[in-house]
């Protein structure tokens, strides 16, 4: 199963990368950008053939390693 873990900084945590990208986009001539947030994707190929089990496994990986829950939130999506 392919599973996608998406990790984003928590609402309220300052995102220096997002801020810098927003700034760069403005100077590149995209004045319509109001806010930018940057996150990470971790795509996992799992041996498991069961969607439920794969999701559970990925959630465990995310909370143990892939995300730092002090500053980040994550979502898990089974891609199939």
């Amino acid at each position: 199963m392919k599973v996608r873990v998406t990790v984003m900084l928590k609402e309220g945590v300052l995102d220096p990368q997002g801020k810098a990208i927003g700034h760069a986009l403005h100077t590149l001539g995209f004045p319509g950008v109001e806010a930018v947030r940057v996150g990470k994707i971790i795509d996992l190929d799992l041996k498991s053939t069961d969607a439920q089990a794969a999701r559970a496994e990925a959630e465990k990986m995310a909370s143990e390693l892939l995300a730092n829950l002090v500053i980040e939130d994550f979502t898990v999506e089974v891609l199939g």
Partner: protein, 233 residues
């Protein structure tokens, strides 16, 4: 004082740290490997700087799960002294032994330069050779040193006096918004913090790289001479 330095895959300032420790103790520290499952009988454990696991995913995240870290957690529980510098500080926050997290530097660039630190309290093993308010110079070299924590944690750190070092001007002024004195954008200009029992200290800059006049000065030395004096058997 018997000290041990933990080496993770990608650690690269363990030699610098060993030199600084040898300078004050006269003997070579024990080098531990991240896969070791036993901590020898030591008075100080140091997590040195570097790029453990290439800083991939998040700085310190993968090292925090090394086998040796459960020993170090137990050692902390017993009140052992732990110093984490740079990547070592990041590992301590990832392990939860120290609160908060270290984000990408505000300017998004790696910063290798001297900075000045203000000593916030001098009643700990790490800081007692200085006076409160003293300012000293030290090199820094990191891409992710921007200290952040939620409001409650920050209030607790400040309320309980757990900030050890702050980035400041040469005259001791700290200003969070000033990129000259607080180059990585840390909240409250925090450069180093302590655990509640003050036995664990994490800091981003590298006092171990300034312990020899030949390398530009001895400004970082008080941390190490202080540890030797404070931790006598």
């Amino acid at each position: 004082m018997k000290a041990a330095i933990v080496v993770f895959p990608g650690t690269n300032r363990e030699r610098d740290m060993a030199i600084a420790l040898r300078r004050v103790t006269g003997k070579a520290p024990v080098m531990l490997w991240h896969r070791d499952t036993e901590l020898p009988d030591v008075d100080l454990v140091v997590l040195p700087g570097g790029f453990s696991y290439g800083d991939y995913l998040r700085c310190g995240a993968m090292a925090a799960h090394s086998p040796i870290m459960s020993e170090i957690r137990a050692y902390a529980q017993k009140g052992g002294h732990i110093l984490g510098v740079c990547n070592g500080f990041q590992i301590l926050t990832e392990t939860g032994l120290l609160p908060g997290a270290l984000l990408r530097n505000a300017g998004l660039r790696f910063l290798s330069q001297d900075c000045t630190l203000r000593v916030e309290r001098n009643d700990t093993a790490f800081t007692h050779k200085w006076k409160k308010g003293d300012v000293f110079r030290t090199p820094m070299a990191h891409g992710d040193g921007n200290y952040t924590a939620d409001t409650r944690t920050l209030e607790q750190l400040e309320g309980e006096g757990l900030v050890a070092f702050r980035y400041a001007s040469a005259t001791g002024q700290a200003d969070e918004t000033d990129t000259l004195t607080n180059p990585n954008g840390s909240m409250n200009s925090i450069a180093g913090i302590l655990s509640q029992n003050t036995r664990i200290c994490g800091m981003m800059p590298h006092p171990e790289d300034l312990v020899d006049p030949l390398m530009g000065g001895e400004d970082g030395l008080p941390l190490f001479t202080g540890l030797v004096e404070a931790i006598v058997r």
